[in-house]
Symmetry: C2
Subunit: 117 residues, 2 copies
């Protein structure tokens, strides 16, 4: 994912619960070679997972990164977690890109949205 | 919250489930006057809520902001949501700081963490 943002950003909408979120918080290492390419590939691949609803990403320069993935059910999330190419990317992430990360998988009970008139 | 990061960032840890996350995604307006002060005040206030576990924040410059708050149970989250001073800040957010936002409240079922050796 590029840090250079030009298009207006649209966060993933408030779907009707229940659905699932995977909150992935990361602290990066200095070696980010091939990260962008792999990330772009993952963003393509995940679209084929049944029940995939979308993804939000924010990255404070030099700080925390947060990626939130949204799925209709736990099965879709599990299919994505264990996808062979995604597995390989996760392994490389631990070896190279991430100083640390945390994953919180949760079932959404309430959601709401606001848009300026 | 300042955009100028100096201290090493430490994301909120993987607590033992169940616990709750509130995923708050935002697109800001151009008028961010008083935002930092209010945000700092909220970060102080929330620490007094029973069951508050922590908060992660990331902001892509000119792009999406994501704040994830963690609470031990739904009661703590509800107490925070309805706190009078927080309510006032929410109202001002809709009037001034946010072009749009979405909130997803979810119960964590699994969590994991990784730290480079």
């Amino acid at each position: 994912m590029s840090d250079h943002v030009e298009a207006p950003v649209t966060p993933v909408e408030a779907y009707e619960p229940p659905y699932y979120v995977a909150v992935f918080t990361t602290v990066r290492t200095e070696d980010q070679s091939d990260y962008s390419e792999t990330n772009a590939r993952m963003e393509e691949l995940v679209k084929d997972i049944p029940g995939y609803l979308g993804m939000d990403h924010a990255q404070t320069p030099g700080g925390l990164g947060i990626t939130v993935s949204y799925f209709r059910d736990a099965d879709g999330l599990e299919e994505w977690r264990t996808h062979p190419e995604h597995r390989a990317a996760q392994q490389r992430g631990r070896a190279q890109w991430y100083e640390r990360y945390t994953l919180h998988v949760a079932k959404v009970e309430h959601s709401s949205t606001f848009e300026k008139a």
